[in-house]
Amino acid sequence: MVVIRFIFDSVREMFRGPREYWMWLLALSLVVLFGAWRYSEQITEGLVVTGMSDQVSWGFYISNFAFLVGIAAAAVLLVIPAYIFDRKDVKDVVLVGEGMAVAAVTMAILFVIVDLGRPDRLWHMIPGIGRFHWPVSLLAWDVLVLSVYFLLNLAIPFYVLYSRYRGKEPNFRLYFPFVVIAMFWAISIHTVTAFLFSANPARPFWHTALLGPRFIASAFASGPALIIITLQIIRKLTSYHVSQTVIDLLALIMTTALQISLFFVGAELFTDFYNEGAHAASIHYLFFGLGGFSSLKAWIWFALALNLTALVILMIHPLRQRTVMLNIACVMTFIGIWIEKGMGLVIPGFVPTPLGEIFEYAPTSVELSVAAGIWAFGILVFTLVAKAVIAIEQGKLSCPPEEQRYTL
């Protein structure tokens, strides 16, 4: 069976490399183990070890979830130019982008699971033996679209790589329909995640039609930021060819998306603050504090400053074309949006509570450690996938010619 051989060879490739590579894997694994150990604390003690409360019932976990769905969706920015506009340079790296999507969805799902009070009852969601409240519950929708997106991003690269492995060109007609589906699906995962929040009139801060567009815009800024950095790292560490034109294209997309994203933030601020009604309480809490509580204030201004500085760098062409400056802008955008769309979006939805109580939230060391573990796991998944992808794409990994004629 060539498939088994393909999987076997790929896995072997994942764990082949110089000492530094092994150290990297080891370091990530240690963080994962540390996170798992802290998670076991949460399992034995209950969610009481987190900073969450009846007042602020979602926290750092769901914040990271919302952000990561955006990163996953951003893979579409490579998929579209690669498959629809048939750009050769982008096609070379599109599988890396899809690998990133797989890692990001994995992390997003893990963040939801660690947030559950009863992870042992996860099977209650499986249609048939459980009760899957679809299509009514937006959370059911989110689970559905994320799982399918995960599978799409596994299946397409699997097929493409498998063909390469056998020394064949993948049959474009065969996988193109799936690419088109994956494209729309990418938009859907992030839109549904936005709807998960905006569907709640109980939470005026989230209950705005702008939330969906805002999510997409900020994802298309933070996603490319991460891809640009990652591609440069790959270019540095491997002999894999990453064309500069890809990075230029992503930088341009990122600039536009960041402009739109900041415009949306401005529109939101205007609408809420011009006539400061009851709906403005949460946003007031976020930006200026409320009733003497203001733990998010410094963070959101910091995020805004990061995003604005990044935007200035990106909009001045000579600056953007300097690699160092571009990288600074990427890091700024990534962190800025992580704050704005993570904690900056989730927490104010709960402050004040629907009964007007102001209660603050701060993540505990358990939450931070578990989150670090999940991020390390995601990076680990990405490293392994990227390692195999690059080897196959470079033709270093292929099956012996005598087996290439078999179809399976």
């Binding site: 009846d54 007042q55 009070g117 009863r118 992870p119 569907a199 709640n200 009139p201 629907p354 009964l355």
Partner: protein
């Protein structure tokens, strides 16, 4: 296990003798087969708990087996013999509640009666009812004081607003739940199956009245304070990691009694009754008083009204 043994006269009514008999068998077999050391639970019970179906899909036998497990668990955990029942909704009844806010003095007797009646965690200090203190003439919830000092009430120039689950007729919490662990019963009470809830807390985000509460820890209840008259969908001891809320004292009201908060109120501000009965007190209030509901603009159709004399 007990389910198979007892299917002979399933469908019959609650039968104490038979259940005691089964309880004996349950413990006996468990001791023979496995160490009863799973957090004070037998292996069989843990196994059956894990695979327990959701309330609305359990057969009569399965529900009865579940009730027995609940009683055994309570005994192991709290050292109390409780009676967990499954009283069905009465036909032709939909409950509604109304509060006379010009009478309410903010004593919080309802709050404390509710905590006792419904076996709420004492250490977690969970309370289904919140009484808000606001300035006379002000109705902005954001100006309300949730933690006013009980000894000083009623304070001159203040008014009081008790808030609890409104048993919405179009409940956003029910729509939110990804596993249908929360739903509206035929008598209008929105309930939670504590054995089915996965603890995602999406319903808490969706509720506009802050009526849903989460068990961040295992609720601690002193044995002598445990209310042993319990209902599967109501005040039975709850596990950790699930959501709970006011259920209009389902174990009392389905038997024609008043909710504990109404019984406890010293001012007679609380009026509870059957909305489908034209002669009920609640219908009188709705027909003759100026009533309003909280956040009516959200379209959740609360079955909980406020009025003043």
């Amino acid at each position: 296990m007990s389910n198979n043994t007892g299917s002979g006269n399933g469908g019959g009514k609650f039968d104490q003798a038979r259940r005691n008999f089964l309880r004996g068998i349950g413990i006996g077999t468990a001791a023979a087969v496995a160490q009863p050391a799973w957090g004070g639970q037998t292996f069989q019970d843990t196994f059956a708990d894990f695979f327990q179906k959701d309330y609305r899909r359990m057969s009569v036998d399965e529900i009865e087996a579940a009730l027995e497990r609940i009683e055994r668990k309570a005994e192991a955990r709290y050292d109390v013999e409780i009676d967990c029942q499954n009283t069905p909704p009465q036909p032709g009844v939909v409950y509604g509640y109304a509060i006379n806010i010009s009478r309410c003095k903010g004593y919080r007797d309802c709050v404390h009666a509710c905590v006792k009646e419904n076996n709420l965690g004492r250490d977690s200090q969970m309370q289904y009812i919140r009484v808000l203190e606001m300035d006379q003439g002000d109705f902005n919830l954001e100006h309300s004081d949730h933690y006013y000092e009980p000894e000083t009430v009623p304070v001159e120039g203040k008014h009081y607003l008790p808030v609890q689950c409104m048993q919405c007729d179009d409940p956003p919490c029910v729509k939110a739940c990804p596993v249908e662990a929360t739903w509206m019963e035929p008598d209008g009470i929105v309930v939670v199956d504590y054995d089915w809830c996965i603890g995602c807390r999406y319903c808490m985000a969706a509720c506009p009245y802050w009526a849903r509460h989460f068990n961040w820890t295992v609720p601690e209840i002193p044995a002598e304070e445990m209310n042993t008259n319990t209902h599967y969908l109501g005040n039975r001891p709850r596990p950790r990691g699930v959501v709970e809320k006011c259920h209009f004292c389902i174990h009392r009201t389905r038997k024609g009694q008043q909710p504990a908060c109404m019984e406890a109120c010293p001012t007679g501000s609380r009026i509870f009754g059957n909305l489908l009965d034209p002669d009920s007190a609640i219908r009188y209030v709705l027909a003759n008083k100026q009533v309003f509901r909280l956040k009516e603009d959200l379209g959740t159709e609360p079955k909980f009204w406020y009025f003043s004399d």
